[in-house]
C-alpha cells in the first residue's frame, strides 16, 4: 500500500536563498497516521508542508532535489491543483486563504474544482460545516468574519471532501483554547474514523501531542528527531529544551520519569509515584479532581471553593481591579493612585449589529502586567481598540493617563518603508537591539525581529502610559515568547501598564500578574493570574491542570514536586 506521504532525500532551496530550507529529508507517513511536525521558527516546518502540497517547487520555484509523493502523486509530475484532490492544505494566515465571498461558496469551492456535481458538493459543504461547527456561518459573507472564524472556514475548505492527507500549518494559532481543543478533536475524529493522515505543524505542542502517533522535529531544514511522542519528549529534554511541553518540562525539572505526553498521563504517573499521605497534599491529584486553587465558574471546576472562586456568577462584574468581581470580594486597600487606563460602564454597540462590549468597568494601574483572555469574539481585541482610540465607545467613559500604544496582530502593518533604518531613528533602533538590521527590508525580517521592530515603532516618541498587544505570541516559538515576556516586563518596570490579549495561557502565566477573562463583552473574571489560570479547564496552563492548580509554571510546579518528594 502506498504511503500517504513519502519523501526521499528531499532538499529544497528557495530562489535567491543562501541556505536550503529542507536538507535531505527522508520521511514516510502511513495512511491514517497522525504526525506532528515540531521545530523552532524558520526550522522548515512550513516549507515541508508546502512541498507536500506541491507548491514547492511548482509555485515557489527554487532548487528541488529528491522525490516526494503526496497521496500517491509525485509532486514532480503533478501540479498543486491535482494534488489538492488528495491533500487538503491549510496555511498560517487565514486572511489570504479565504477566496470566496460567502462561507458556503468557500466550502463548495474545492469540491466544485474537482468536478463534483451539485448534490455531492452540497453534502460535502454540510458535512464540513457540521464537523467544524461553522454551520451557523454558512450564509455569512467572508469579509465580516473574525480571524478565528476565518481560520475555521479555511480549515473547512481544506478538509471538505475528506482528503486522504491533511497538511495543516498551525491551524489553532488564531483560536481560543476551547475552539483549539474542539478543532483537535475534529482532526482526531477525521484521523480515526475516516483514516485521513494528518500532518500538523504546531508550536504549542502541549495541545496536540496526545493525539499524535509520531513527532517529527526539524532543525535547520533537516529531521532532528522522528519518534513517538514519549521518545520525542525524552529527546527534547536532552537536545531541544525549547520544544518541551510544559508538562514534560515540569517532570524534567522535578526529576520525574517518564515524561508525560498528556495531562492525564502526568496525573496518572504522579498518582502512581506519590506516597499515600503525600497524595492529598499536591492539589488535585486525587481521584475527584478537586481544584483547591479555585475554579472559574462556567468554565470548569466544581466551584466548591468559595473563597477562591472567581467567575461572575451572580455578580455584575462592575468592580474590576478593586473590589468585587462576580461575587469575589477583595479587601479594600488604601486609595489607589490614578489609573493609567480606566473603563467606566463602556459599551460598544455596532449599528445594525451586536453589542461587542457590554458595560465594561476595568481599571489598570501604571506598571501593571495584565493578560486579557476569553474565547474568540469575547471582545478582547475590541477592548484594546477602544483603549487605543481606534474605536469609540457608544456609551460610558474612558480615562487615559497618557498615550496608549497598541501593537495589532500583524506587526508588518507598522512598517511602511523599504529599509528598517528608515522606520526609526538610529538611537531607537539601537535601544531595540535592531541596529544591525538597519539596511534590511522589514519584510525580510524574521517574525520575532519584525515584532520587535513594530513594538519599537509603537513605543517611539512620547512614552506610552499604556502598552496594549493583541495576540503577540501567535506563531511564536518558546524562545521568542520568553524574549517578548522579558521585554514587556521591562516596559512595566518603567511604569507603563502592559495589557496583552492572548489565548496563550502559558504566556499569560509567565508574564501577567493579573488576568481579566472576558465573556460576551464583559469581564467575567478579574483576579491575580495565579487564581484565574489555576482552576479552569480551558483557561489554565498545562502545569496547573496537572497539579490541580497548585502551580502555574513548570518551575514552580517542579519545586512543589521536589518538596513533596522530600516530605514523602
Amino acid at each position: 500500500m502506498s504511503a500517504a506521504l513519502l519523501l526521499e532525500r528531499v532538499s529544497y532551496r528557495y530562489p535567491e536563498a543562501t541556505a536550503p530550507a529542507l536538507r535531505d529529508v527522508d520521511l514516510r507517513v502511513a495512511r491514517g497516521e497522525f504526525v506532528v511536525v515540531a521545530g523552532g521558527s524558520g526550522s522548515g516546518k512550513s516549507t515541508l508542508l508546502r512541498a507536500a502540497s506541491g507548491l514547492v517547487p511548482h509555485f515557489h520555484g527554487g532548487e528541488f532535489s529528491g522525490r516526494l509523493e503526496s497521496g500517491g502523486l509525485d509532486t514532480r509530475t503533478h501540479e498543486p491543483a491535482q494534488i489538492a484532490a488528495v491533500a487538503g492544505t491549510l496555511f498560517q494566515d487565514p486572511e489570504t486563504q479565504v477566496v470566496m465571498g460567502t462561507v458556503r461558496a468557500e466550502l463548495a469551492f474545492p469540491l466544485e474544482n474537482r468536478g463534483l456535481g451539485p448534490a455531492a458538493v452540497a453534502r460535502g459543504v454540510e458535512e464540513a460545516a457540521l464537523a467544524l461547527g461553522i454551520a451557523p456561518l454558512l450564509d455569512r459573507a467572508t469579509h465580516v468574519l473574525s480571524g478565528g472564524e476565518l481560520q475555521r472556514v479555511a480549515l473547512g475548505a481544506a478538509l471538505a471532501g475528506r482528503p486522504r492527507l491533511a497538511l495543516l500549518d498551525e491551524p489553532t494559532s488564531q483560536l481560543d483554547p476551547v475552539a483549539g481543543d474542539e478543532l483537535l478533536g475534529v482532526l482526531r475524529r477525521l484521523n480515526e474514523e475516516w483514516g485521513t493522515a494528518v500532518i500538523l505543524a504546531e508550536h504549542r505542542l502541549e495541545r496536540c501531542l496526545s493525539a499524535a502517533d509520531r513527532v517529527v522535529a526539524l532543525r535547520d531544514g533537516a529531521i532532528a528527531c522522528d519518534a513517538d511522542p514519549r521518545r520525542f519528549l525524552d529527546w527534547a529534554a536532552e537536545q531541544a529544551p525549547e520544544l518541551q511541553t510544559p508538562g514534560a518540562r515540569l517532570f524534567s525539572l522535578a526529576g520525574r520519569r517518564p515524561l508525560p505526553v498528556s495531562v492525564k498521563d502526568a496525573r496518572r504517573t504522579l498518582s502512581a509515584q506519590a506516597a499515600p499521605d503525600a497524595l492529598g497534599s499536591i492539589a488535585g491529584l486525587g481521584a475527584d479532581d478537586r481544584s483547591p486553587a479555585g475554579s472559574i465558574a462556567g468554565l470548569g471546576g466544581d466551584g466548591r471553593s468559595p473563597s477562591r472562586s472567581i467567575a461572575g456568577l451572580g455578580g455584575d462584574g462592575r468592580s474590576p481591579s478593586g473590589s468585587t468581581v462576580g461575587g469575589l470580594r477583595h479587601r479594600r486597600r488604601k486609595p489607589r493612585p490614578e489609573p493609567a487606563l480606566a473603563f467606566s460602564s463602556v459599551w460598544l454597540e455596532h449599528r445594525d449589529g451586536p453589542a461587542v462590549l457590554r458595560g465594561v468597568d476595568l481599571a489598570f494601574a501604571a506598571g501593571e502586567r495584565v493578560a486579557l483572555m476569553g474565547r474568540n469574539g469575547a471582545g478582547k481585541s475590541t477592548l484594546l481598540r477602544v483603549a487605543a482610540g481606534l474605536a469609540e465607545p457608544t456609551r460610558g467613559k474612558l480615562h487615559r493617563a497618557g498615550r496608549v500604544g497598541l501593537l495589532l496582530q500583524n506587526p508588518g502593518d507598522y512598517t511602511l518603508r523599504d529599509r528598517v533604518g528608515d522606520e526609526l531613528p538610529a538611537d531607537a533602533l539601537d535601544a531595540a537591539g535592531l541596529d544591525h538590521l538597519a539596511d534590511r527590508h522589514p519584510r525580510d525580517l524574521s517574525g520575532g525581529e519584525r515584532q520587535r521592530l513594530a513594538l519599537a515603532i509603537v513605543l517611539h516618541g512620547e512614552r506610552p502610559a499604556v502598552v496594549c498587544l493583541d495576540e503577540p505570541t501567535r506563531g511564536m516559538d518558546r524562545f521568542h515568547k520568553d524574549a517578548l515576556a522579558a521585554l514587556l516586563d521591562a516596559l512595566a518596570h518603567h511604569g507603563s501598564a502592559v495589557i496583552v490579549a492572548t489565548h496563550d495561557a502559558e504566556f499569560a502565566a509567565a508574564f501577567a500578574g493579573r488576568t481579566v477573562l472576558l465573556g460576551d463583552g464583559r469581564p467575567v473574571a478579574d483576579a491575580p493570574t495565579a487564581e484565574v489560570l489555576a482552576g479552569g479547564w480551558y483557561f489554565a496552563t498545562q502545569t496547573a491542570r496537572i497539579l490541580g492548580g497548585a502551580a502555574l509554571l513548570p518551575e514552580d510546579g517542579a519545586a512543589l514536586l521536589r518538596r513533596e518528594a522530600v516530605v514523602a
Binding site: 501540479e79 491543483a81 492544505t89 474544482n113 468536478g115 458538493v121 482610540g389 495589532l408 507598522y414 511602511l416
Partner: protein, 288 residues
C-alpha cells in the same frame, strides 16, 4: 468596494455575462473620443448603477477618481506641444522647455479625463454588481493562467482593502501625526505582490483549474437577464464596431479642435445609452 448581492437585473445576471457587459462598455469608452459619446456613456453608466442599486458606490468611486482625472486634464496641455490655438504662454521651464498651452491640448486633456472616469466607473460597477465567486467559477473552465489572473484581480481588491484598513489603524496607534495616506497606499501597493502570491497559492491548493469541465449537472439555464445583458453587450459591441469602421465619429483634437455633432453621432450616443439601459428595464426575477 466589496460585492453584495442586491435585487437588481445586473446582480441577477450570470457573472460572465455581467462582466463582459462592463468590459465592453469600458472598451467602447476607450475606442471613442468625442465628448458627447463619452458624456453619454458616463451618464448611462450612472443611471445603470442606479438601476443596479449601487449608484452610491459608483459615485463614490468616481469622486475618488476625480482628482486623478483632473491631474490627467492638467498634465496633457503641459506636455503636449500640438494644437494651433495658444491660450497661454508660460515661458521656458527647465526640462520641459518652452511651455505654450493650447486650447486643443487642454480640450483633449478633458477628453482623456472623461474617458478615465468612464473606465473607472465601469470597474466600480463591476466590483459592486458582478459576483466574484460566480466569475471565479466561470473562469475555471478557460486556461488556468488567465483564470488565475482574473481570479487574483477579483480577489485582491478585498484583500488589499483589508490591508489598507489595518495599516491605517496601525498608523493611528503611533505617537505623533499618522503617516500620510499616500505612504499607506504605497505600502499596500508594495505588499500587493506578496499578497497576490499568497492568494494564488491558496487557489492552487484548493484545486482551482484542475477540473476543466463543468461539474456534472452544474450547468445553469440562461435566465431572462442573462439573455438581456448578453444581447445588450453584443449590441453595444456591434454598434461600436459599426461606428468605428464607418467613421461615424469625426472628432479631431489636433491641429485644430473639431467636434462636429451630426445625426450619426447622435444615433451612436443614443444607441449606446439605450443598449446599456434597456436590460435594466426588466425587473422580474431579480431577487435572490
Amino acid at each position: 468596494m466589496i460585492y453584495e448581492r442586491r435585487a437588481s437585473p445586473l446582480h441577477a445576471t450570470r457573472a460572465a455575462v455581467a462582466s463582459a457587459w462592463c468590459v465592453i462598455v469600458a472598451g467602447v469608452a476607450l475606442s471613442f473620443e468625442h465628448p458627447l459619446v463619452l458624456c453619454g456613456l458616463l451618464s448611462a453608466l450612472v443611471i445603470a448603477a442606479a438601476g443596479a442599486r449601487v449608484a452610491g458606490r459608483v459615485l463614490l468611486a468616481l469622486a475618488f477618481a476625480l482628482p486623478f482625472a483632473v491631474v490627467i486634464a492638467l498634465i496633457n496641455p503641459l506636455v503636449v506641444r500640438d494644437g494651433l490655438t495658444v491660450i497661454a504662454r508660460l515661458g521656458t521651464v527647465p526640462v520641459l522647455g518652452r511651455l505654450d498651452v493650447t486650447a486643443e491640448a487642454t480640450a483633449y486633456g478633458g477628453v482623456l479625463a472623461l474617458r478615465a472616469l468612464v473606465v473607472i466607473g465601469c470597474f466600480a460597477l463591476h466590483s459592486a454588481a458582478v459576483d466574484p465567486d460566480d466569475l471565479l467559477r466561470a473562469f475555471r473552465r478557460v486556461s488556468f493562467r488567465s483564470a488565475l489572473t482574473a481570479a487574483l484581480a477579483t480577489r485582491m481588491i478585498p484583500v488589499l482593502a483589508r490591508d489598507a484598513r489595518r495599516l491605517h489603524d496601525a498608523q493611528r496607534c503611533l505617537a505623533g501625526a499618522p503617516a500620510p495616506r499616500r505612504a499607506v497606499v504605497r505600502a499596500v501597493a508594495a505588499g500587493a505582490l506578496d499578497r497576490a502570491v499568497d492568494v494564488a497559492a491558496t487557489l492552487e491548493v484548493r484545486g482551482y483549474g484542475a477540473a476543466r469541465r463543468a461539474p456534472r449537472g452544474g450547468r445553469r439555464p440562461w435566465s431572462r437577464h442573462d439573455l438581456a445583458f448578453a444581447a445588450g453587450a453584443a449590441a453595444i459591441a456591434l454598434l461600436g464596431l459599426a461606428a468605428y469602421a464607418g467613421d461615424w465619429e469625426a472628432f479631431e483634437a489636433y491641429p485644430a479642435l473639431s467636434a462636429p455633432v451630426d445625426a450619426r453621432l447622435l444615433v451612436l450616443t443614443a444607441g449606446l445609452a439605450a443598449c446599456m439601459l434597456l436590460p435594466f428595464a426588466d425587473r422580474r426575477g431579480i431577487g435572490r
